[in-house]
């Protein structure tokens, strides 16, 4: 990295927060919105790409890790104001003191931050009942590519003047700006929670049971599916005797007023019974719930325990087509001879097939690519969508859709310095 770049960045954030150990990438950790503004203005002038995650080959890697204060919890307006690196877990721990919660739970890691939820807009574990991150983000302070500071939205519930810029930035993967302050909507914490873990002989049975629950107007706060190789991995990771004959499981959390939760639990159990469950476990007290949650939370760790390489796809189908999608993934695994685990938020029809592979085996990586292409075709045929890859955007939104998105990108980031390549691909 050129010396004048390092010197300037060191002047902005301080020498100990600029790291460039033998690489072309310099990691910068600013502490305030003003510092980020100066960093971006400089990068924009010099046309240096700025990334917010991953391991870029060259450019500035912007770490927001130092911006981790909860600025305000406004219990009267049910609103919190946070900096981007406050974790969802830390915010909820603070809110618990006030009997409140921030419902979207990305569910992947305790280190997921609010800033990341603005970037990626996950609907996560509680999506069905509580919605996605975008339904809770009321306002943002965003630093634009040229360093200008933009404020959008606010604490008001009705806020309709002008374009809804907050929604535009939410889910934009930080390609349009860097969020430095986030105003989120809060909800009262539920009075009661009950957790249920049911095991099924096949992924299809689990998929049908999930669809039947929703069609039957049960709205669990959490409805997760787990199928394929991951069950074995979890059995190894938490050896507390998950039933060996299970090929899939559903994980549910019901929450709300006590009497309602009891009634929903009975209804849920009777619905599930029709789909040949091999075992059902339920828990009402905190310790029992925690033990069942541990099974769900351990999935990535359990998969990682094998420590071969993993590739995670992200697709959504209408919930009525869930069983078909699960069957299609199972067929692909056989057809291409691949090890595929399925995790998913069954509640919203969102499935995350995880391909485990050996990165040094090119025949495997080729087969995975072929399987992903075939999967995309099946998902589209089922009326679904597959997230992530820019090359799929055009087939989903058409040429006009992609052109509109690129026009927005160019308007806000004319030099294409912010996370280049993400979302819209080329500028």
């Amino acid at each position: 990295m050129q010396t004048h770049v390092l010197t300037t960045l060191q002047q902005i954030v301080g020498a100990s927060y600029v790291l460039a150990e033998g690489t072309e990438t310099v990691t910068v950790s600013p502490a305030t919105a003003d510092e980020i503004s100066l960093v971006l203005a400089f990068a924009n002038r010099e046309k240096i790409p700025v990334f917010t995650d991953g391991s870029p080959a060259s450019g500035i890697l912007l770490s927001l890790a130092r911006m981790n204060s909860i600025v305000e919890v406004d219990t009267a307006n049910l609103v919190a104001v946070v900096e981007p690196s406050v974790t969802v877990a830390a915010l909820n721990a603070e809110l618990e003191k006030h009997g409140l919660m921030y419902p979207p739970d990305p569910g992947t890691s305790p280190e997921v931050t609010l800033g990341e939820t603005v970037a990626a807009n996950p609907e996560g574990l509680r999506g069905l009942k509580y919605g996605a991150a975008k339904h809770y983000i009321m306002g943002l302070e965003t630093i634009l590519a040229d360093g200008r500071i933009l404020k959008t939205g606010g604490k008001n519930v009705k806020d309709v003047a002008g374009y809804d810029m907050t929604k535009l930035f939410t889910g934009s993967q930080q390609t349009l700006g860097i969020a430095t302050k986030i105003i989120v909507k809060l909800m009262p914490a539920p009075e009661t929670k009950k957790v249920l873990l049911a095991f099924f002989p096949s992924a299809e049975d689990a998929g049908k049971a999930a669809a039947a629950l929703i069609a039957g107007k049960t709205i669990p706060a959490v409805l997760e599916i787990m199928a394929g190789a991951v069950l074995k991995a979890v059995q190894t990771y938490i050896p507390d005797g998950l039933p060996a004959e299970a090929a899939a499981s559903l994980f549910l959390e019901l929450d709300g007023i006590n009497a309602a939760v009891e009634k929903e639990l009975l209804k849920t159990l009777s619905t599930i019974e029709a789909y040949r469950p091999v075992a059902i476990r339920t828990a009402g007290d905190a310790a029992g719930r925690e033990a069942l949650w541990e099974v769900r939370r351990s999935v990535f760790a359990a998969l990682a325990g094998n420590c071969s390489a993993h590739l995670i796809e992200d697709l959504t189908v209408p919930r009525t087509r869930l069983a078909e999608a699960l069957k299609a993934i199972g067929t692909l695994a056989g057809q291409f001879d691949l090890n595929i685990s399925i995790l998913g938020h069954a509640a919203t029809g969102n499935l995350l097939p995880v391909f485990a592979y050996d990165a040094t085996n090119p025949s495997q990586t080729d087969r995975i690519q072929a399987a992903r292409d075939a999967l995309f075709a099946s998902v589209r045929a089922l009326g679904g969508t597959m997230n992530g890859a820019p090359e799929r955007l055009e087939s989903q939104y058409g040429a006009a859709g992609l052109a509109a998105m690129r026009a927005i990108k160019r308007a806000l980031d004319p030099n294409c310095i912010l996370n280049p390549g993400k979302v819209t691909g080329a500028c």
Binding site: S16, Y17, L19, E21, G22, T23, T27, S29, S63, A65, R66, N68, S85, S109, P110, E111, F300, A301, A302, A304, G305, C307
Partner: protein, 429 residues
Amino acid sequence: MAMEYKKLLADVEDAVANCMKCGNCQEVCPIYKEVRIEPAVARGKIALMEAVLNGGLDITAGFDKKMALCVSCKACTAKCPCGVKADELIIRGRQAAVAVRGLHPVKKAVFSLLKNRGLFDFSLRLAGMFGPLTFKKLPGRLAQISRFPMPGLDRKRITAPFAATPLRGQYPETVKAAQSKLRVGFFTGCTINYIYTDIGQSVINVLKANDIDVVLPKLQHCCGTPVYVNGDVELAKIFAKHNIETFENYKLDYIVAACGSCTEAWKTEYPGLFLDDPAMKQRADALAAKTYEISQFLVDIAKFRRDGLGEVKVSVTMHDPCHMARGIKVTSQPRELLKAIPGVEFIEMKDPSRCCGAGGSFSLAHYDLARQINDRKIADIASTGASIVATGCGLCRMHITDGLIQNDKPQEVLHTIQLLDKAYQARNK
């Protein structure tokens, strides 16, 4: 030289590669929580080692400095889903840095003093005699503050005085119980021998009350952990060999230590140091198998007497030292000791096994950071409202005492064994 450090790291290349860079270590790393930059956390350090292995980076002063940013609390290792033993890898990184760049001059001076057992013992006895000239005693707790600026010691830092007479000088080599049932060797460790002799006295009293003879081998020396974690593995081996030879000379049923790190040294470090020397490894294994931390020994092996316990009316919370909780995995036994004492009200604090920030010599080199980490521990202690903090490590006791005084908190820090000793004494009154 270059080849040598490459080999040191190449040995652990596979272990380094197992880190999938998920960053779960960020959640638990006490240093990362304060400074929020990647070199602070295990993932960042492993990435640096990888860069050295791939030839993208040399072992520089920066590398050295970043490897030093670790309290060796093992929280990352306990958290890692891939089972990467990050704490050991970081020590390997330090070892490579020592091989290339040599030890830090201050550490080098301290370690060479430590190497000479006789001179070390003499110096600390002198320090015990003349300490009052340079340090001012603080009322109440075993605590002192420096009268003059001293190299390597933060001006405002509160430490504990060196004992006028070290523990092993206060007793004959064998302390007989009235009726002897067992014979154990007491590995005192430096902190208990030279500073907190009150802990050592309690260990001896409690063992005697349980009809156990206590042997204090005269020639025992530092366990070696301080030099081991700083990357001087060759010196650690010399200490290990010396201690093994010393304790082999006595006929002992068991060896006990009242410090998590010392116990871990005997149980894990010593056998691990002699992987290339089967005869020595066998001797280390034999002693490791009969070494226990004092609370573990009393609860699991000696089945301590519960009948002779008098009332001790205090409210107590507990701090689990890192090397107790994650090193030798002993957390239930000290609680069992406390719960057996009539009158003790036990209040668990939040995250009792979170590092207190002492981290051995870490707090000497990074006092401000060690203070920030400790301030969180002090807040957790204060919110229990307990009047006593029980713990199982002399250095934790010193660093938490410092934090309590700096934060104007009234609690006193004791070793768990001191409370058990009080209970036996209360019965005898």
